[in-house]
């Protein structure tokens, strides 16, 4: 190799090496952060069972939440079932409420009026994403709670109000992902169906939606992930009573609402503090499970052919 050529090459190689180092460091940092986070939550969360001597079963299935006190056997009263039940109830119910609206508007936007969809509707939903959760909570408090009280009875605080507020919050996510899923269905499928004399609604129901189903499922699960992890807005309307919800309109609590209401009040190292970390661990594991499911769907439902 000629000398001049080598000189010209060297700085380039150095730049490449430096680029590799910088980007590699970023990747490493993120990976370390994620792992540290998981490790921290896990080690604190597991202290409940290792140091404080609570059996795992009584944590998962116990129905009494009063970590300041012990039961007859000297085991802290840290039954988390009410919160677990509360979290799952608001998550499932909010998805159930949001899905028909999300699906309906996604179908409208893609199949019925694409111009309106891209010009008006999508910017509107993006706006909805940007609204802070405390605003949703306030609206829930001033409007949803009195409204549910007026027709469903009770105090208005509870799973139902929480679910409605959450449904609003996850609606944009579920809608825009459903839009993507439906839009990804190849036009040739629709043509095939029209060519066979099927109406637009037959085409949507029997060709478009089944083909988009894995994408729509992903949308729902991402919505669930968001609903499951939302704290502030739920806490404002759910009633915050750590008891097994007996109806949709009695005050309840979720994993997140208990953590946000109690964490500031309990000293580090106490049983109460430890068990809050355990709740956080449950949240973390559930989020990981949701994400795992999304990956599995993604691999299975990847478009073929």
């Amino acid at each position: 190799m000629a000398k001049g050529e080598e000189k010209a090459l060297r700085p380039k190689r150095a730049i490449e090496r430096r680029g590799l180092a910088i980007t590699g460091a970023c990747v490493l940092l993120v990976a370390v952060l994620v792992l540290t986070l998981i490790f921290m939550v896990a080690s604190r969360g597991l202290a409940t069972f290792t140091t404080d001597g609570t059996p795992f079963a009584s944590f998962m299935t116990g129905t009494t939440w009063n970590p300041h006190q012990n039961d007859a056997n000297g085991i802290p009263l840290v039954g988390a079932l009410p919160m677990i039940a509360g979290s799952f109830s608001v998550t499932l119910l909010s998805c159930l409420i949001a899905l028909p609206f999300a699906l309906g508007s996604a179908i409208f936007v893609v199949e019925v009026n694409p111009t309106f969809g891209t010009r008006v509707f999508q910017p509107l939903t993006e706006l909805l994403v940007g609204i802070p959760s405390v605003v949703f909570g306030l609206v829930g408090l001033r409007i949803i709670v009195p409204w549910t009280r007026s027709w469903a009875g009770g105090t208005g605080y509870g799973i139902l109000s929480g679910s409605i507020v959450l449904a609003f919050m996850i609606l944009p996510t579920v809608t825009s992902l459903s839009i993507d899923a439906i839009r990804a269905v190849p036009q040739s499928y629709r043509d095939g169906s029209y060519g066979l004399g099927c109406t637009r609604w037959q085409t949507i129901a029997h060709v478009v939606l089944p083909s988009a189903s894995s994408g729509i499922l992903t949308a729902v699960i991402l919505g669930m992930t968001r609903a499951f992890g939302e704290a502030l807005a739920v806490q404002m309307v759910v009633g915050n009573a750590a008891q097994i919800p007996t109806s949709l309109t009695t005050p309840a609590a979720t994993l997140t609402s208990v953590i946000t209401t109690s964490m500031g009040n309990e000293a580090m190292g106490t049983v109460y503090n430890d068990v809050l970390w355990s709740l956080a661990l449950v949240l973390l594991i559930m989020s990981l499970v949701f994400i795992l499911i999304i990956h599995i769907i993604g691999r299975k439902g990847a478009p073929r052919g």
């Binding site: 499928y189 060519g195 089944p210 083909s211």
Partner: protein, 275 residues
């Protein structure tokens, strides 16, 4: 109102065609059909007539309006925004653009096979049973029979009879295309429109599809096929229409047209001087 597929089949010579001596049982006729996309007239007035049991090929260079013409017959152009169709498309004596004609009913009788095989994301069985199910056939034994009959008619039964529950995507391209033909035949159409059905296929699959088309014709189905392959047009079609720049230049019996084209432009096209 009489069901659209029971209208009369005329035996008079088609309007706009020269060979008046030829009395065919015309099932479909277009009179001065034009198609406009926005302001661009992609198809100038075109008049053609098609008879039952006859295969007609539409030939011409890319972009000359063959697909556009084909889509105006089963009103698929209505699915395209900004597309306007003028003139008359007469199926069994009735203008299909007249108010009161059920578009979906019409498409049951005028089937369509597309350039790219487009089976649904369903099993082979469900692909074929799809249209009959939507149109009200629910009895399992009826469907079973229809599926077998249609797959046989499309010359693919022997290849798929043991794997009817497998996905339509598990087939080769040529098999997928014949599955799409079977899917169309399951509606017992009078007319089948095919837009370059063999362009994605190898010679053996192409041959199988051509066989299928001939056997469809022998059962009285009117087939209109767009093709870029002159040999295919010669092999498979009874009649032929040559399009150029949105204009239907020449039409007639395929063999005669290919042997001595009357229009210089067709002669040029056949001898490969352009297109």
């Amino acid at each position: 109102m009489t069901p659209i597929n029971q209208g009369p089949v005329s035996t008079r010579p088609a309007t706009g065609e020269g060979d008046a001596a030829d009395l065919r049982s015309v099932i479909l006729e277009t009179r001065d059909v034009t198609v406009t996309y926005g302001t661009h007239e992609a198809l100038h007035p075109t008049s053609l007539a098609f008879a039952a049991g006859e295969v007609t090929s539409l030939i011409g260079p890319s972009g000359c309006g063959k697909s556009t013409y084909l889509r105006s017959i089963n009103l698929m152009n209505r699915e395209i925004e900004g597309c306007k169709v003028g003139g008359q498309v007469i199926y069994r004596g009735q203008d299909v653009n007249a108010p009161g004609v059920d578009l979906f009913e019409l498409r049951k009788h005028i089937g369509m096979v597309f350039q790219q095989p487009n089976p649904f994301h369903k099993s082979i069985y469900e692909n074929v049973a799809f249209a009959p199910r939507r149109h009200g056939i629910t009895k399992k034994s009826d469907l079973d029979q229809l599926v077998e009959e249609s797959l046989r008619a499309a010359a693919i039964w022997d290849e798929v009879k043991d794997k009817l529950s497998e996905s339509g995507f598990a087939l080769s391209g040529g098999q997928q295309q014949r599955l799409c033909i079977a899917r169309t035949l399951a509606m017992h159409p009078d007319i089948v429109l095919m837009d370059e059905p063999c362009s994605a296929l190898d010679p053996i699959s192409t041959f199988a599809v051509e066989e299928t088309i001939r056997s469809m014709a022998s059962r009285g189905i009117c087939t209109i096929i767009v093709t870029h392959n002159m040999e295919q047009a010669a092999r498979v079609s009874d009649r032929c229409a040559f399009f150029l720049l949105g204009e239907m230049v020449e039409t007639g019996v395929t063999a005669e047209m290919f042997a001595n084209p009357s229009d210089q432009r067709l002669d040029d096209y056949l001898t490969g001087r352009f297109g």
